[in-house]
């Protein structure tokens, strides 16, 4: 029985936590696992394939309830937890956050520890995404427009991207606001585009870059590029921003070149 399973099982049997959320082997790739008993923990695994951002469950009361839970997540889960905490969405008292680094299991005692881990373990950016961004950057403006219009007109507005995103936790999404009807609820190129623009703007400075939105898209639309690109832009313009609140703060010396 793996160290991971042992440790997590212990947490349950000691009663420290009521549930462990981790990864287990699915048919094709690992999938989220919810362990309520020490035995369940034997199913837990952790490897590079474990991509789901488990933090998405931390804002869902119907899943975690009021009890203390343990999470064995990847880099992005840790990063997300930091952001969620900043946004007052989780109670750290009710969370045991763990990750696996080689053979040993790291349990985070504080936000600082998480931050430190995040700062030191940045994963290599997804080459495919970078390439795609470069390709689009090279296009002419109207080519870009046509590209996104045709891509996004496929969208069926299932909102899987929203559901998969751990930071899309609003009780009422802007798409459900109907006075005024900011975004037409049905699928159409423009409203699909408007939805994505809203998503990106709402993510700006907050997105942790886990790419779950893209992974979740049933039509495999390249929406992961958008968030990634936005993240890169923000890094370039505002430097390495930390607290994830780029749009809710400002700097008197922000430099732009378009306000004349």
């Amino acid at each position: 029985m793996s160290k991971l399973s042992k440790d997590t099982a212990a947490l349950l049997s000691e009663g420290t936590v009521k549930m462990i959320i981790g990864y287990e082997q699915g048919t094709e790739r690992p999938r989220p696992a919810f362990c309520h008993t020490p035995e369940d923990c034997e199913r837990l695994i952790f490897n590079d394939q474990c991509s789901n951002n488990l933090a998405v469950y931390l804002t869902k009361k119907e899943i975690i309830g009021e009890d203390k839970v343990g999470v064995v997540g990847n880099y992005y889960v840790v990063k997300t937890v930091i952001q969620l905490n900043l946004e007052n969405q989780i109670n750290l008292q009710n969370l045991v956050l763990m990750t696996v680094d080689g053979d040993d299991i790291i349990t985070f005692g504080s936000i600082d520890e998480m931050q430190q881990y995040v700062d030191t373990h940045e994963p290599v950016p997804n080459e495919k995404v970078l390439a795609a961004i470069e390709k689009i950057d090279k296009m002419s403006r109207s080519e870009r427009w046509e590209y996104w219009k045709s891509e996004l007109s496929k969208c069926v507005r299932c909102y899987a991207c929203r559901a998969a995103c751990p930071l899309c936790y609003c009780n009422r999404c802007v798409t459900e606001v109907n006075c005024p009807q900011w975004i037409e609820p049905w699928a159409s190129p423009l409203s699909n585009m408007e939805w994505q623009i809203n998503r990106i703007m709402h993510m700006s400075g907050r997105c942790v870059g886990c790419g779950e939105c893209a992974a979740a898209c049933p039509l495999e639309l390249p929406i992961g590029i958008l968030t990634k690109k936005m993240g890169m832009d923000i890094k370039n313009t505002f430097g390495g921003w930390k607290d994830g609140s780029v749009l809710s703060t400002y700097n008197v010396n922000d430099k732009e070149n378009f306000i004349k």
Partner: protein, 155 residues
């Protein structure tokens, strides 16, 4: 605006301005009787910080060929920091629109103070002639039209 005459295109431009600087500045343009073209219609907001980015998209969808956004100069904001927040928002927003191929050249950002009546006139005329050259924002309008057809199907 309707076509004044068939061979020149008269763009329709919406201006989103803050109440304290640019709106007052536009008033000053009036009181100093400085003439500018009729293509721009002004919408008053308390502060540039209040201007929702969705309203820009809605303006384009509604058929605007250009947009002007203007407020108090940095450090002059009536609410001390509204324009700073707005500036940041536009910096991010603009990059993303451009990446998605939306024509940011059709959006004119400016700071016009309550004392810059003449500048307001320049900003307007300048934008109008620029947009006139660029021609109507058909591609966006088309997308919007497409939306209308969709509507019909849905009803």
């Amino acid at each position: 605006m309707e076509e004044k005459n068939d061979n020149i295109f008269e763009p329709r431009i919406i201006a989103f301005v803050c109440n304290w600087c640019t709106y007052a500045g536009a008033d000053l343009t009036g009181t100093s009787r400085i003439k500018y073209s009729t293509n721009v219609e002004i919408v008053r907001f308390p502060c540039t910080g209040r201007i929702d980015f969705m309203l820009l998209l809605k303006a384009f969808a509604g058929g605007a060929d250009g947009i002007i956004i203007s407020g108090c100069h940095p450090n002059d904001c009536h609410y001390t920091s509204g324009n700073f927040h707005a500036r940041r928002r536009w910096m991010v927003f603009r990059d993303m629109l451009d990446f998605m191929g939306i024509d940011i050249e059709r959006i004119r950002w400016s700071w016009v103070s309550a004392a810059e009546g003449a500048k307001w006139a320049d900003v307007v005329n300048d934008t109008v002639s620029k947009i006139r050259e660029m021609g109507p924002y058909t591609e966006y309008k088309k997308a919007a039209k497409f939306l209308e057809e969709e509507k019909i199907i849905h009803e």
